[in-house]
Symmetry: C2
Subunit: 457 residues, 2 copies
């Protein structure tokens, strides 16, 4: 195995001086699991300029048995891009070219390193929309979003990132480049390698570019914020709203702990607020208004506050606040073990109450927020990330949380993925036969385990 | 290899008398490629009662090196379920249980053998909708729809079948049963085996049951029919409608040949009609009307007829007629080589004209119709299916058609799949590296090639 200066010389030969980042740049040691004290030191950090360089690096690493940890914006919550011992980090951040943009065909082909915000801006400026909004839009990159099948509030109406990917260009472990799918809206020529790469957390290939579908931007969106004293009442209202057949573009919730942590709510809430719901509808102005009015009627039963923000400024402030909840919760104790389960919507109340109860059993403050309409909870245990004993307790709490999710008919990961954090628990959800089928695919595409060892499976 | 009576005795032991169909029932010899003279004789036909029997049959066949051809409704256009020599047909038609139906959670879990029509009826009766409508709804089955990722007119707004599948239960070549995905709306725990099975044409596993997403049924839909004398004008109008950002639920077309063949159009068309467009919008009554009015305005430029059917009876007749186009075209000469390419929407005119031109080069009458908004053409060469020389010419024409599709930036199959028909052409679209990745997956999941040999890859 080539190490240290020799390794850097070899890599420099492949990607040039600009393609090598300093190995002591801590930015490449972590992702959002930093808040629970997780980090790793890479043997090198390469930032290829294009797919050809990615291919060259991968081929070299494969030949020299150097594992590769692919990295997008580093905003993941599962440790998926945290370097493992002896691995090199391969970051896509220099690859940001827009290869093709056909607004009239509702499609775009971009490099993997383009940020979510840049993509959404481009679409918006052309009257279109790229609906997935997994958060951390200024940092997260399209390639990473695809590799994790990132979700977000608007997945309720529009699906997760994968629903918008028509094709990917990827580098396989051998260094060979493949093109899966492409620029047509329908294509069933061979296996759907695009979807297989989607959500595989960089363990099957490195996504270098993607063909994405866009849609005409909805004319308008309208929002209603509803507060409850009792979480059970709020959850019942959420289930009723879904059951009524209302098509909302987002249906978010925060429990009492999350509201308290994210204190800078853009307007005043009743002090008794124990559960908050934010419902959004989009479409034509008339449709968005009618839908949100109907939602307000259903959600308003038993509520202590029903408020419809009307100005653009109010709406911007609301969603900016929502995007900041995760960081605000982290700030409470300096760290958090943030989880991500999903359950059928009618089991939301049990999952919300269960999160707090599991926290209490492990003497940890706990809260949850997330995508109520998708039954997707970011159940979170607050910790001081320097306190190993607290972290250990939080991990035991997470383990109990996964059991709860599965007991309720749900999943141990709704949108954050498996990464390193949930790897030990995957066999609680997937049968040995199902896991073996996944492993067979991993062996078929990456027999030597070059890509992201110790992640996902 | 076990054959004849001995084979039947062994299979009878596994599936009982009711699970064995007569091997001379020609229904199991063909799919919709019968119109081009394609058929095959199976060694046996088994119709398992449940997933356990599927598993038992597969395990036995795997052990005895008997290939299996899985079969849904047999409505495919690529020969995907036509038996190959020495294979047994495994039909899912007896497996029709609705395992779970939660209308308030917008989800249903059904056996693979349930027909599209039954599923859609169930959803409709509960105020919901299962949007994919690949046609032949009374015959086609959910399992087959998933195995082919079946499309249809409403894929324009709602995506193909795969977009609605949350999970599948499948039997692998070993006979082992796996569950991929499940009943939650978001789930990223491990690789997306659900999408991998989707569109794999029964070559990776036999889908026994599926968790499907539903949506609240749109309140209304409205339609406008627009006729043109010049196909180029019609295609330009289609591209303009898409480019304008109108969100239509369907945008279909027929060229002159298809209109002539499908003569029983439910109302009178101007004699000069050379190109027909049917646009549909759905949503609230107001929204559907506004959208279709706007569509009529854009599509109406240069048209010889703009007609908005208003009564339910007129609409039903229109869609029934549309569903019958394929059969009507077959009837012209007793056979057809029906193809299925997709191109970017702005290349539709070239593909429509190219279809007729390629037909002419091979002295064949040719026409096309299909899903204009998705750039998806059913380009078709009319033949007498008993005339081998005509069939041979039609196959050469198809080959030219695939080259045209690829030259226009499209695919050799938009929604019909590869089956046996396009297998020899897949390498024109997919690179050797991409094909090898697909083959590696096939070898990983079905190393002995038990499932559907000679299909897809």
């Amino acid at each position: 195995v080539t190490r240290g200066a020799a390794l850097h010389d070899e890599l420099r030969r492949l990607v040039g001086d600009r393609g090598l980042a300093p190995v002591d740049d801590r930015r490449f040691w972590v992702d959002a699991t930093e808040s629970q004290g997780i980090e790793g030191t890479p043997a090198a950090v390469v930032l290829p300029a294009d797919a050809e360089q990615v291919s060259a690096v991968v081929a070299w690493c494969h030949q020299h048995a150097v594992p590769i940890v692919p990295r997008g914006g580093g905003t993941g919550f599962a440790g998926g891009c945290v370097p493992t011992r002896g691995s090199i980090v391969l970051g896509l951040e220099r690859m940001r070219i827009v290869h093709t943009f056909d607004p009239h065909l509702w499609r775009i082909k971009v490099d993997a390193g383009l940020t979510t915000a840049e993509l959404r801006r481009l679409a918006r400026e052309n009257g279109l929309s790229f609906p997935p909004d997994p958060g951390a839009a200024e940092q997260s990159q399209i390639g990473g979003n695809i590799a994790t099948d990132a979700g977000g509030p608007h997945a309720l109406k529009y699906g997760t990132t994968g629903a918008w990917v028509m094709g990917v260009e990827a580098v396989l472990a051998s260094g060979e480049r493949i093109a899966a799918g492409g620029g047509v809206r329908k294509d069933v020529a061979g296996y759907d390698l695009t979807s297989l790469m989607t959500g595989s957390e960089g363990t099957l290939g490195i996504i270098c570019a993607a063909w994405l579908r866009l849609i005409p931007a909805p004319e308008a969106s309208r929002v209603v914020v509803v507060a409850y004293d009792d979480p059970a009442v709020g959850c019942a209202a959420v289930a009723e709203a879904i059951g009524s057949g209302l098509v909302l573009s987002a249906l978010e919730f925060l429990d009492r702990g999350a509201i308290t942590a994210a204190a800078s709510f853009p307007f005043t809430l009743p002090t008794e607020t124990g559960f908050l719901v934010i419902a959004e509808a989009d479409g034509s102005v008339a449709e968005a208004e009618a839908t949100v009015d109907e939602a307000a009627g259903i959600l308003g039963k038993g509520a202590v506050l029903v408020h419809q923000p009307t100005t653009g400024a109010e709406l911007t402030a609301l969603w900016r606040w929502r995007d900041g909840v995760s960081g605000a919760v982290t700030a409470v104790r300096g760290g958090k073990v943030s989880d991500d389960i999903a359950v059928p919507v009618d089991r939301l109340a049990e999952a919300v109450a269960g999160t707090v109860a599991i926290g209490a059993e492990h003497c940890l403050e706990a809260c949850s927020w997330g995508h109520a309409g998708d039954g997707n909870l970011h159940s979170t245990f607050l910790v001081d990330s320097r306190d190993k004993e607290q972290l250990e307790r939080a991990r035991r709490a997470s383990s109990d949380l996964y059991d709860l999710a599965l007991r309720l008919g749900g999943t141990i990961s709704g949108e954050h993925g498996i990464g390193t954090l949930k790897r030990a628990y995957l066999d609680r959800q997937r049968s040995p036969q199902t896991l073996e089928a996944m492993r067979a695919i991993k062996r078929a595409l990456d027999p030597d385990g070059t890509f992201n060892p110790g992640k996902s499976l």
